[in-house]
């Protein structure tokens, strides 16, 4: 995926204005148009607005596309995966016009944070754009626009989170594979008797990576660190689910 806001070139379906930006919508991979909102201005970071209602917003199942009505072929797009949050802003102290405020995750956020001070010097360095405002000329559209963004955000979970959530949803009543902590592994393999020193754990580690020194180290750590075992026993005594 591409992080942050990107500049786009639009080729419209059909002739004249009003066609969808067909070259940007990946229908073959299931992307579809959720909403078209004409009369929307777009403001990146703290740059001045273009002009009121000067573009058209296309919200798809994967991304937000804004196309200027003036240029007709120029615009900006951002994937829902990059939109960290969105909110309806109506407080004139926060921004003069009612708008949908969004925060954008950029490539910079993943690697370093040292570009904040530079962002004012570049008129349009898109990699530093962390905020985007969408200003519909009709403010009564804001709530439903907000809801559309919510719906689309839920269609775009993190790839890893999606897999985990799917696994969890399927799990219902059967063993799942989330690992929350080392305690869980201990719990899973621990027989109910007292005085247990986890030989199985050490064996399986030893076989799995073939490094016996490492396996022994792990075993020693398990043996030497009695604090957790004591805590376990106390808790087991306390809730009465054991013995």
């Amino acid at each position: 995926m591409v992080y942050g806001v990107r500049e786009i070139n639009v080729s419209r379906s059909g002739s004249g204005s009003g066609g969808e930006p067909v070259n940007l919508i990946d229908t073959e991979n299931g992307e579809s148009l959720m909403r078209v909102q004409p009369g929307v201005d777009l403001v990146l970071s703290n740059l001045p607005p273009h002009s009121p209602g000067s573009g058209t917003l296309y919200v798809t199942t994967k991304q937000v596309i804004w196309v200027s009505d003036l240029g007709q072929t120029k615009g900006f797009a951002v994937d829902f995966l990059s939109i960290s949050l969105h909110a309806v802003s109506r407080d004139p102290d926060a921004y003069p016009l009612p708008c949908l405020y969004t925060q954008i995750e950029t490539e910079d956020d993943l690697h370093s944070n040292d570009s904040d001070s530079e962002s004012n010097n570049h008129a349009l360095d898109l990699s530093t754009v962390r905020e985007m405002r969408l200003i519909p000329s009709d403010p009564t559209q804001l709530d439903s626009l907000f809801q559309t963004f919510c719906d689309c955000a839920e269609l775009n979970p993190e790839p890893n989170a999606a897999a985990a959530a799917a696994a969890a949803a399927e799990e219902e009543g059967q063993q799942h594979n989330w690992i929350f902590s080392a305690d869980q592994m201990e719990d899973d393999e621990q027989p109910e008797e007292e005085g247990y020193i986890a030989p199985n754990l050490a064996n399986s580690l030893g076989h799995s990576n073939g490094d016996h020194d490492l396996a022994r180290t792990v075993l020693e750590l398990q043996i030497n660190d009695q604090r957790f075992e004591d805590a376990e026993e106390v808790e087991h005594d306390g809730d009465g689910t054991h013995h």
């Binding site: 969105h86 956020d109 809730d239």
Partner: protein, 93 residues
């Protein structure tokens, strides 16, 4: 699904959501979904000097993957319940 269930029980309470970009937003928990996306109402930014324009937004949708912490109201934390739920979860059901 433990945290999903748990956060669902906190709907209607005041929480503070701290994002990975250090922004902390306080508001009433409106809803949460399976990806731990969070919707807040009547929000305000904790560090208002840093994010003055975020001062007050009525609705706010926060992507689950950008959340670092959720600060819970003390009275919303039932330690016994959480303890049991955690153990059940750890045992796989």
């Amino acid at each position: 699904m433990l945290f999903f269930s748990y956060f669902k029980d906190l709907v209607g309470r005041e929480v503070t959501v701290e994002l990975k970009n250090d922004l902390a937003i306080r508001g009433t928990l409106h809803s949460v979904d399976q990806y731990l996306n969070i919707k807040l109402e009547n929000t305000r930014v904790v560090d208002q000097d840093k994010y003055p324009h975020m001062l007050s937004v009525r609705n706010c949708f926060i992507r689950g993957s950008v959340v670092r912490y959720v600060q819970l109201p003390p009275e919303g934390v039932d330690i016994e319940l959480l303890h049991d739920a955690t153990r059940r979860e750890a045992r796989g059901g």
